[in-house]
Symmetry: C2
Subunit: 186 residues, 2 copies
DNA sequence: TTTTATTGATTGAACGTTCAATATAAAAAA
DNA sequence: TTTTTTATATTGAACGTTCAATCAATAAAA
């Protein structure tokens, strides 16, 4: 319970102030707790940061699993993958900035980089699995690579331009159209 | 001369340590200069950071202008735009990490965000200009949007996966193929 | 001589971590 | 049930470190 409280406060602080300006104090103040409690539950500040990233990643995974399991067609599954990658964000608009901060930091933090790497590969693997059911393997590999890049690219440009919710859903729509355009029926 | 020396040292430090861990000392040590000299030439640390971003952006602009001016066809021009966006990086492999750091920070720094915004729009505008010469305006707008996202997406995924030079040029090749696939001849 | 460039020690603020002290809850004993 | 003991949760002040910024002193150039 306290752990979740602190993780929420961390995400909020990173979203508002950035990772650089997020301190033990900015976090504990938001959680209405003392500064010492962080080391009690997470060992050190970095432990809390990593736990927060893990929480974001598992949210994305849960989002995907809960929606995909009962979907029939491969095409529907592809649409749900796109939706999941945009929706974690739409629920909490400020979380987008947080992702970007963590991604940048992952270039200089071994632990974070492993987490980010798992996430990037999961998007690719999920896409590949569905494409494979719809086209030859070689074509599917290319489609998965392009789709992953397009999803990330549209997402990134929306975040960087500080897009509002409407522009975000427009980016999501573009991503879906692109994935659809790769299907054999087109 | 001192200014450029300090900018180079800043880019090197941000690439190696990240923006968070880059300090007045880590910069001045790399430049073999004293710590005080930074405020003399740039006012404060942030002034130097911004000057470094400006330098990166102007490098990209120069790269583009110098190669594009004497190119004839619109298709060639599109390929050169893609190349320019990947090449700034290939010259100095470590600069990629720097871009990502600055992008993340731009979410919480008004000045940096304006610079980043100019850059994002320039990519779009350049693409749009060339696409317009090859197809109806409405189609060109869509092509430019998709191409910008694909270029950024392929670039981002290459950076985050710590791709080597070979994988980077493969990403560049994919970007070119995608842009080509949007042309009417296909 | 006057101006400009450069140094590096100094300063005070802010940081993450530690830890003795206190509060709360749970378990054991009366 | 009440009392005592033990374990856990939580606080916030104190500590040592690191940071950006400042500035008097020195060197170089004009």
């Amino acid at each position: 319970m306290r752990r979740q409280q602190l993780i929420d406060a961390t995400l909020s602080s990173v979203a508002e102030l950035g990772l650089k300006a997020t301190t033990i104090n900015s976090i504990s103040k938001r959680a209405n707790l003392s500064s010492g409690i962080i080391s009690h539950y997470f060992g050190c500040k970095n432990g809390l940061i990593e736990a927060s990233v893990r929480y974001l990643l598992s949210s994305l995974k849960t989002e995907l699993l809960s929606s995909v399991e009962d979907s029939a067609s491969s095409q529907q599954r592809l649409m749900l993958i796109v939706e999941a990658n945009f929706s974690v964000v739409q629920k909490n608009a400020h979380v987008t900035k947080t992702w970007l901060s963590f991604w940048a930091e992952s270039m200089h933090d071994e632990q974070l980089h492993r987490l980010q790497s798992v996430n990037a590969k999961r998007l690719y693997t999920n896409l590949l699995y569905s494409f494979k059911a719809l086209m030859p393997k070689q074509k599917a590999i290319q489609a998965a690579n392009y789709s992953a890049a397009m999803i990330d690219g549209l997402w990134l440009r929306a975040v960087l331009s500080k897009a509002d919710e409407f522009e975000f859903s427009k980016a999501e729509e573009l991503a879906k159209q692109y994935v659809n355009s790769l299907l054999p029926s087109h």
